[in-house]
Subunit: 219 residues, 2 copies
């Protein structure tokens, strides 16, 4: 393959790494805004959204031109098509961080319902899943990709725990319902972020191993 | 372009239409399971999930081979890459219908909280958005695509109404909290289904008009 194509593939990877690092930062800021009750972090997440949206369009166009102009061989084509899908996942992760700060904005108007332990832990796992799924893609590392997918179970189990705890608050005191629902939705959004990282992990596994683990991860 | 390629493009479209019709059926069944309290429809949605998952892999592979073997011209390439993205959206719509019936399964264990009016209406709009977004794709109809995107506002506004109503139930009677949260999550899942249809509409608009309405739909 010509050197020019390799160089463009490298640029594509760099663009995705940059987009991922913004998405990771959005997750971190959204949960820190809640934990440390910092409204300015809410605003920062909204600002990042604009950047990540612009990057999505830029990466889509770049990847498309790469296929149209170079007519790459099968394995490179798989890689670029995976990049296009991953690009969508990262953009939706950014959207979900925005959904989180929309809830945080409401939560900061009232006193904290409870000390937060599980939610920040869930956010940390989700954030690392995003980071590692992109790392697995760049390095074509199927083992790491599969390992990211497995971490999704931890997130689901934390989500269950958080739900049970918040439900108990709501039953005990109807004045807590509003805040409990907001926290419950934050947990849901984090769970969906982890789902997107899992999608990326599955796509990476597929392009590296040429075998599909979507829809039968347990096998 | 050779006739063989045109024929394969036609097959790709047919596969997507079939996948979409299954997704639409899953939405209809998930909400009918709730409204008519029919547990057997819950099981049917789970069965459809297997089919839709298999179809996703099949369509992905088919689209990939179409690019790899025919090295299509730019406009056909855009169309096929859009098909790959739409394929992901349809699969996630199926997942969301499954998420709905998971909640319905719980809801059917208890007496109904309230007569359902807004939720079925929301489901009907979401289902039509899916249908029309795929129709817009097949017919390369940018006007219909844009119109689908606009309908997302109706869904968001219904979601807000449903939330307010359920919140009032929860405040009034803590015995209603469990069911109210389940219904609230059903509404969220429907809202996300509409979001996926909107994504499809935006992609269609882009490939037809060559102009991006993602992220600045209001302009």
């Amino acid at each position: 393959m010509d050197r020019h194509f390799d160089e463009e593939l490298r640029i594509l990877k760099e663009k995705l790494i940059k987009m991922s690092s913004i998405a990771e930062e959005m997750i971190a800021k959204s949960i820190n805004a809640l934990k440390e009750r910092k409204g300015e972090l809410v605003d920062e997440v909204f600002e990042h959204e604009r950047t990540i949206n612009e990057m999505q369009i830029e990466i889509d166009d770049f990847a498309f031109k790469l296929i149209a102009l170079h007519q790459p061989a099968a394995s490179d084509l798989r890689f670029i098509i995976a990049a296009i899908k991953i690009n969508s996942d990262l953009e939706r992760i950014g959207d979900l961080a925005v959904n989180i700060v929309e809830r945080v904005r409401d939560l900061l108007k009232e006193p904290p319902l409870k000390p937060l332990i599980d939610l920040p832990q869930m956010a940390a796992i989700a954030q690392n899943m995003v980071k590692d799924s992109i790392g697995a893609f760049i390095d074509r590392n199927a083992d790491l990709a599969r390992e990211v997918c497995r971490r999704d179970d931890q997130v689901d189990s934390l989500n269950g725990q958080i739900f049970a705890e918040l439900y108990a608050y709501m039953i005990k005191d109807s004045a807590s319902i509003n805040r409990a629902i907001d926290l419950l939705l934050v947990a849901r959004h984090l769970e969906r972020i982890a789902d997107h990282a899992t999608n990326i992990g599955e796509d990476v596994f597929y392009i590296v191993k040429g075998r599909d683990i979507r829809h039968h991860r347990e096998e």
